[in-house]
């Protein structure tokens, strides 16, 4: 049964959490609150995603700082019983176990009686397309099938906090879609589903809220819209294909703080000290120039560029 949410809806709170392994700082001063919904945890390999997930699962105690769940509850609180589910990183599973035996065993350890554990394990494995492989040894399954077994044990019971470390690895597009559906269903049922990935695009399409990690630091956090605004602010250049690029360039020069301008045949590339002003001025400039714009794109407004920009700041 799900523990009721606290008044502020906070499922997980990290306050100035630092995790060190000897001299290596895996996570530094992480502070954030997570509420129900699908949260994308993004960062390149070694950014501290797995460490953060293990801390959020209560499997580690932070070197410094405080992790609390469901409105200030700490590990050992009876109200946290069964409220956390986890899919750890890595693609191996005990080779001699079968999908059914492993999921059943996990559910038994989570307090289900034998019959309920077996029924529930069969149901979730069927949902994840593993019904023909119930009794096959896990060592003989494909990576994608093993990943679905790991996901099955995490989604088998409702939980308030579902932590998924690189959950879409090795899944084909059909199962990615199904797993994304499961994540959204869990979120609709009041869970905070944290999805870590180093593949930015796949998380962008699933998560409503993003947490960006780089070198152990939370470098950005917010809704997709907030992160988009951040990207927008950092856009490096606007590239346009227009019927009259010179006229359009003149109009933009008079309306926005343009710092660099380049015309190459039909293509116009513009940079401004305040990109937001440049974008705001664009529609009027197009109308005033009478140019016909076939194509417009910005450089540097994707998450990869954002990571590069943030990396420079962190250095």
């Amino acid at each position: 049964m799900l523990t009721p949410l606290p008044p502020d809806n906070t499922v997980l709170r990290m306050q100035r959490v630092t995790q060190q392994y000897g001299a290596n700082v895996a996570l530094l001063d992480a502070t954030f609150d997570l509420q129900p919904g699908v949260v994308g945890l993004l960062g390149p390999n070694g950014a501290g995603k797995s460490t953060l997930i293990h801390l959020a699962a209560g499997l580690k105690t932070p070197t410094r700082g405080k992790v609390t769940w469901l409105g200030g509850k700490t590990l050992g609180d009876a109200a946290l019983e069964g409220q956390i589910a986890l899919v750890p990183d890595g693609d191996s599973l005990p080779k001699l176990d079968t999908p059914l035996s492993l999921v059943t065993m996990v559910l038994r350890c989570h307090g289900l009686v034998a019959h309920d554990a077996d029924t529930r394990a069969r149901a979730i494995l069927t949902r994840l397309g593993m019904e023909a492989k119930w009794h096959d040894a896990l060592g003989g399954l494909s990576r994608g099938q093993r990943q679905r077994v790991k996901l099955a044990q995490a989604f088998a019971l409702p939980a308030r906090l579902v932590l998924l470390d690189e959950p879409l690895n090795a899944l084909d597009p059909m199962w990615r879609l199904e797993v994304a559906t499961l994540m959204h269903e869990a979120a609709q049922n009041g869970a905070c589903v944290v999805v870590s990935s180093h593949i930015l695009e796949e998380v962008q399409s699933i998560a409503g809220w993003l947490l960006l990690l780089f070198r152990g630091r939370v470098v950005a956090a917010g809704s997709q819209a907030e992160i988009r605004a951040l990207l927008h602010k950092r856009a490096q250049a606007l590239r346009l294909k227009a019927s009259n690029p010179r006229a359009l360039a003149r109009e933009l020069l008079s309306r926005a703080p343009v710092t660099e301008l380049k015309i190459d045949a039909e293509y116009l590339t513009v940079q401004a000290s305040e990109p937001a002003e440049l974008f705001a001025a664009l529609p009027q400039a197009v109308l005033a120039s009478g140019a016909h714009v076939d194509f417009a794109a910005t450089d540097g407004d994707d998450l990869i560029s954002l990571f590069h920009a943030l990396a420079k700041e962190v250095k």
Partner: protein, 255 residues
């Protein structure tokens, strides 16, 4: 079959520590009592038993040789079964990254090592008791024939050896990455080096097992003291395993 649903999820019970230990033990027993897992240890137990039977039947000084054989190979076979099953009990999950699945309940960090130790000790103990019983039966009607009191010593030693060695190897598997190598090293060190020196003998389980079996190499240790020492060692190892899991489970990776 019931279709999967978010709404109609079965209710999970709040597990007491003994109940959680029981479930973790059950999990490990399900994994251990498979022919693919068990056959090497069954074969080794059988080989040790046949070796003892051969000594009784074909050795001229069968009584002396048999007693030495039981002390050495009878007990060592139990230690090796405990080593194989004890290290695998944790290693198969840590290496596969699956240990986390079982540790998300608060009491699991205590229940998991105890439950898995119990399962390994039960299997190693059952094989040990079976082997000792067969060895004792093999002496019947020969010059090496042992009285019933010796059978009691053999069975007590088998049970305590299974308990102490299983706890040791489960703890090593939780603490060390190269669990098998570390366990073999520990076994060699304790059973061969430490017992040769009087000052180090006190930390070797084999010293106390020898005392229970009436071995002359442990003349100053009473059976009661040996039993207490082995139970104490077992408890110490289990505490070490629990402490490690409470502090930092071994599957946690940096990244």
């Amino acid at each position: 079959m019931t279709a999967w649903s978010w709404i109609q999820a079965p209710e999970a019970r709040k597990l007491s520590l003994p109940a959680a230990v029981g479930i973790h033990m059950q999990v490990q027993l399900v994994r251990t009592l498979r022919l693919r897992t068990l056959w090497p240890w069954l074969a080794m137990t059988l080989a040790v038993t046949l070796g003892g039977w051969a000594i009784v039947r074909f050795s001229v000084e069968s009584a002396d040789h048999f007693a030495e054989y039981v002390d050495t190979w009878g007990i060592r076979a139990i230690a090796l079964v405990a080593l194989g099953l004890g290290t695998a009990a944790v290693r198969q999950d840590t290496e596969a990254g699956a240990l986390a699945f079982f540790l998300l309940r608060p009491q699991a960090k205590t229940a998991l090592p105890i439950g898995r130790w119990l399962a390994v000790a039960v299997v190693a103990g059952a094989l040990g008791v079976l082997s000792m019983l067969m060895l004792w039966l093999a002496t019947r009607g020969t010059s090496a024939e042992m009285p019933f009191t010796d059978l009691a010593s053999l069975l007590l030693a088998a049970v305590l050896a299974a308990m102490a060695y299983s706890a040791t190897f489960v703890a090593i598997a939780i603490w060390a990455r190269a669990a098998v190598g570390m366990s073999v090293g520990w076994l060699v060190l304790m059973d061969n080096l430490a017992t040769k020196s009087t000052s180090f003998a006190a930390i070797a389980p084999s010293h106390y097992l020898a005392a229970i079996l009436g071995d002359e190499s442990a003349p100053e240790t009473t059976v009661m003291a040996a039993v207490a020492a082995l139970l104490g060692w077992t408890a110490l190892m289990l505490v070490a395993a629990v402490v490690r899991l409470q502090r930092e489970p071994p599957m946690v990776q940096q990244g």
